[in-house]
Subunit: 335 residues, 2 copies
């Protein structure tokens, strides 16, 4: 079996071979082809979004995806959460010597597929190889840029009291899929990562009612609970959430009950939170429901002008639970 060696990262002949054999094969595009120290392209004048994420998920492969799928979708989604149309991505690989070429190829081909699905180009990259034990298999950084269409202005400063809060679907699927694989649990096949590019769905919402969308966030690390608390603090509003409106798949809830996880704090990789004017809530839900990744979208709560900085969860049994930022947790390397 062929494996990645240290010399594949030394910048010389073997680096060229690796690049030509795998990178150029799966990321093919005119901007990447010159293999200069960066990509050059034209941009129109306007507002741009720029974002970065490193992916260290363990295990590298899990039900419904792998680290490469996360790396493209995660950065595409961060751009979409800025209201931008994702366009160009970078790819920085840090590989442990000994990684089988087969695994590398599967990861890179998935990245190529996801880039196509999200309609973005991976235009520049870098590959480092380190010794056994100096990284766990492979870590990937993707950064991305995209233009923000005129009239779109997304940010915590736009959130006001009496806005509606929508979540595009179920909670916790990604975390439980990864944890199940990590611990070798024999989980139902229906538990899969929700990892998906959300940019087309989000763009459809923004095209129709963009000026009435105040904030977009994807509840990844820290989960819905942490993001809502951040919104309450940054935007200086109170937030009320109705627990009965949260969608949590039965299998996910069962695993949470057994392992003691709270779905409110589990990472998602294909979900977004939308804070919108109440006049467009139904229209937004209709658009989301028309996409597979938004079919379970739900209006979960409201912003308020009282209890500033606080998030209250109206529980099914009638009480109110205060939601704080995630504190100590037991789920490292979930993305």
């Amino acid at each position: 079996m062929e494996r990645v060696r240290l010399v594949h990262g030394n910048g010389g002949r073997f680096s060229h071979e690796l690049t030509e054999r795998f990178i150029l094969k799966y990321f093919t595009n005119d901007l990447l082809a010159p293999l200069h120290d960066g990509a050059q392209f034209s941009v129109p004048s306007g507002r741009m979004a720029f974002t970065t994420d490193s992916y260290v998920v363990q295990p590298t492969f899990f039900p419904g995806g792998n680290i490469g799928k996360l790396a493209v979708c995660g950065t595409v989604n961060d751009l979409a959460m800025n209201g931008a149309i994702p366009q160009y991505l970078s790819c920085g690989l840090i590989i442990e010597e000994g990684l089988p070429f087969d695994e590398l190829e599967l990861i890179l081909s998935t990245m190529g597929d996801m880039a196509k699905a999200a309609n973005v180009q991976i235009v520049t990259g870098d590959t480092k190889v380190v010794k056994k034990g100096e990284v766990d298999k492979i870590y990937i950084n993707t950064s991305g840029i995209g233009m923000i269409p005129e009239g779109i202005n997304i940010g915590p400063n736009r959130v006001k009291p009496n806005m509606d809060i929508i979540v595009s679907g179920s909670l916790g699927d990604h975390s439980i899929a990864v944890m199940g694989e990590r611990f070798g649990l024999e989980l139902s096949d229906t538990i899969q990562t929700d990892c998906a590019p959300l940019n087309h769905m989000v763009h459809a919402v923004l095209q129709q009612v963009g000026s009435q969308v105040a904030l977009l966030r994807d509840p990844t690390r820290g989960g819905l609970g942490t993001v809502l608390k951040e919104i309450a603090e940054q935007s200086q509003v109170g937030i009320k959430v109705n627990e009965s409106q949260l969608v949590i798949h039965d299998e996910v809830q069962s695993v949470c009950d057994i392992l003691g996880y709270d779905p409110l704090y589990l990472a998602n990789e294909g979900k977004c939170i939308l804070v919108v004017e109440p006049t467009v809530t139904n229209q937004v839900l209709e658009i989301l429901h028309s996409y597979p990744e938004g079919r379970e979208a739900s209006h979960i709560g409201k912003t308020m002008d009282k209890n500033i900085g606080k998030v209250g969860l109206q529980t099914s049994i009638g009480g109110v639970r205060l939601v704080d930022l995630l504190g100590e947790d037991q789920v490292p390397r979930i993305c």
Copy 2:
């Protein structure tokens, strides 16, 4: 001694603390402050460059610098090598649990200092923490963007026969400084990394004679030899280099002689190769010599219309040595 813990990467309360205590302290700017999933800013219409690099240097601290200095300067320089004016950088940290806060702070403060020196802003970032043994102390990815001024067109397709090749200074200092530290050699204090932001010097050249500059490259991993061979192949020219014009400090040459390294293939972090029209060679050298980081700049060779794809080194003893891409090497994690 306070140390980084796994919870500092979980996206919750402890992540916020780390960000506020260190990231916002050293990377302060208005675009980073909102701490959204990315930065938003206005760009003019025109050509942009976009580049990425992951830094895994070992050891993290070495004579004249640390991984943070490399991470900012390396990406700034890659943008400069595209003829762009570096503007915005991202910072993706992957930290091993247990890293002392002191070391993290020193790295981030150096990044802040270098960003100021290069006149760029670090506007978006991401921090992951992994378990002991899943990364070696800290790896950093920086990506960057910048606009390319009108009239500047840098690329391998611009290189033609009978152009002059200039190198902005001495070879091998960075590699020898890092290797000396890694192996605990008691080297002279004069051996230090050459790591520095080159954008101001390069910009001065481009402002005066930009249209006569065909290609800019920084000879990092793979060294001068590999980059010249890449230029010969990509630009379909022959290259003749005069060994007597290469600047190699005596201390560096001595360590190379003892350890069996070839300075032609050692990584540099503060040098650039310029391929220019012969009419401007003297003017370019004059500009370079006026900057501390270019004071030893030297006209080292020419491109030719024969021996296409080949690089010949005219040695001091009268022979010609063919220069190939770096093959097997023994210097991993040099940047």
